[in-house]
């Protein structure tokens, strides 16, 4: 199974509620997975967000750059492309930032893309089966996503019950040097 990453939104050092929902979604893909959180930003707020995640994520990747003090999807996409291993599964909340970031990220990673996922039915071989709504929610659809070359998946906020892991002393890995300078 591919390694699973969750991209974390935060504001003023407080991690978005979706952080723990994405962790739950990751475990629906692979119950044995220890997903890795990725947080981008700058300064004390970034450090506070990383600290907040340590209790729930075994590993958090920190990408610090002054250019990311305010989240810019294009710059963050460039940063993620530099650090994500090939064939990764990346989960992002389906809200304004995720809609900006995720489709283009899937192109740059050459991976599959599924948006606004409500549930995860499971994995069979290289196929991840997810549930989406269509036509204003009048019907739902099972969608098969080929994850053999990775996937970027946006997850509807509120769809998964937040999962705060048992208290762990997660580590924070600083990936900033791998990203280098970021320019538009």
């Amino acid at each position: 199974m591919a390694r699973i990453f969750t991209y974390m939104m935060h504001k003023g050092g407080a991690v978005d509620d979706t952080a723990f929902e994405l962790a739950a979604a990751a475990r629906r893909i692979d119950p044995t997975a220890l997903p890795t959180a990725i947080v981008t930003g700058w300064g004390a707020n970034l450090d506070a967000a990383c600290k907040a995640l340590q209790g729930s994520y075994a590993e958090t990747w920190k990408i610090a750059s002054e250019a990311l003090a305010y989240p810019n999807a294009e710059l963050i996409r460039k940063a993620l492309v530099k650090v994500l291993p090939s064939n990764s599964i990346v989960l992002v909340a389906h809200e304004h930032f995720g809609i900006d970031l995720a489709p283009g990220l899937s192109i740059k990673l050459n991976s599959a893309f599924v948006s606004d996922v409500l549930d995860i039915a499971g994995v069979e071989g290289t196929g991840l089966k997810v549930v989406r709504q269509e036509f204003g929610g009048q019907v739902s659809a099972h969608v098969r996503c080929d994850i053999s070359s990775g996937a970027v998946i946006t997850v509807r906020p509120g769809a998964f019950k937040p999962q705060e892991g048992a208290a762990t002393a997660g580590t924070v890995v600083d990936k900033s040097a791998d990203v280098g300078a970021l320019t538009a």
């Binding site: 304004h96 809609i99 283009g104 991976s111 659809a141």
Partner: protein, 263 residues
């Protein structure tokens, strides 16, 4: 300014009760009323308003079949200068990436300053605009709810973000924007306008004149495929409070506190 608007013809959810077919692998499509995807219509209106301010042309394009000419003509009746049908059997079964690949090939045949899409199709996933921008290496902004042309090279756009707030940015041209519904008030299209464009030839593009490899699009290339449709189980529904206003306020506070919402 040369503006391309990518549009789609979709079942109109305000006119149809969507039902499953007997096999459960698709919706029942025989008697559906189709129309232009709502967000795409706002995108066309926005393009027309920009051209009215700064000059230029609006081209509308769709990937589909003969039936989809209907929405191209509707948008031409609104004021779009050109309509283009991108059609080929090889495109059938394309996923979002496939559609974006097809549109990229079409964009590269022209000289567009600005490409607009609707934020999301009724059966789509808010994906093609962002994918198209990444394939073209153009800047991208989604959920755009206002556009101001600063000069020939930049736009000032605002995006809808959480809490009803707006994020305002400058973005270099050429770029791709996905348009939020409500950005404007799309103009009415009357029968006279439809008749006026009814006989205008609509050029078509396919695999060969777009220079695409058939293996790069269509079902074979799709990494994402719909397996089936189903009707979601009904939830418990909302609890309706029937007391006086004061009783209901107390009950709401009690319920919120019980869920940990009040400390």
């Amino acid at each position: 300014m040369e503006i391309l608007v990518c549009v789609r013809r979709v079942p109109d959810t305000s006119e149809n009760e969507i039902q499953l077919n007997s096999a459960g692998d698709d919706i029942e499509r025989d008697d559906l009323v189709y129309s232009i995807n709502e967000a795409d219509n706002y995108a066309v209106e926005e393009a027309l308003q920009i051209v009215a301010r700064v000059g230029g042309n609006v081209t509308v394009a769709t990937v589909g079949g003969e039936d989809d000419e209907e929405v191209l003509r509707r948008e031409m009746a609104m004021g779009a200068s050109h309509g283009v049908l991108i059609t080929d059997d090889a495109f059938s079964g394309s996923d979002g990436r496939g559609i974006a690949t097809i549109l990229k090939a079409f964009v590269q045949k022209g000289n567009y300053d600005l490409i607009l899409t609707g934020i999301q199709a009724e059966d789509g996933g808010a994906q093609v605009g962002g994918m198209l921008a990444a394939l073209l290496d153009y800047p991208f902004a989604s959920l755009v709810n206002s556009i101001e042309v600063l000069d020939g090279k930049k736009l000032k756009v605002s995006r809808e973000i959480e809490g009803g707030n707006k994020e305002i940015s400058e973005i270099d041209l050429p770029c791709v924007l996905s348009i939020q519904t409500g950005i404007n008030e799309p103009r009415y299209v009357g029968m006279k306008g439809i008749r006026a464009v009814a006989s205008i030839p609509i050029p078509t593009f396919g695999v060969s004149n777009l220079g695409l490899e058939p293996s790069a699009v269509g079902e074979a290339a799709a990494k994402v495929k719909r397996v089936d449709y189903f009707v979601p189980a009904l939830g418990k529904g909302a609890e309706i409070l029937h007391g006086t206003r004061e009783e209901n306020i107390d009950k709401v506070l009690e319920l919120v506190a019980a869920k940990g919402g009040l400390k």
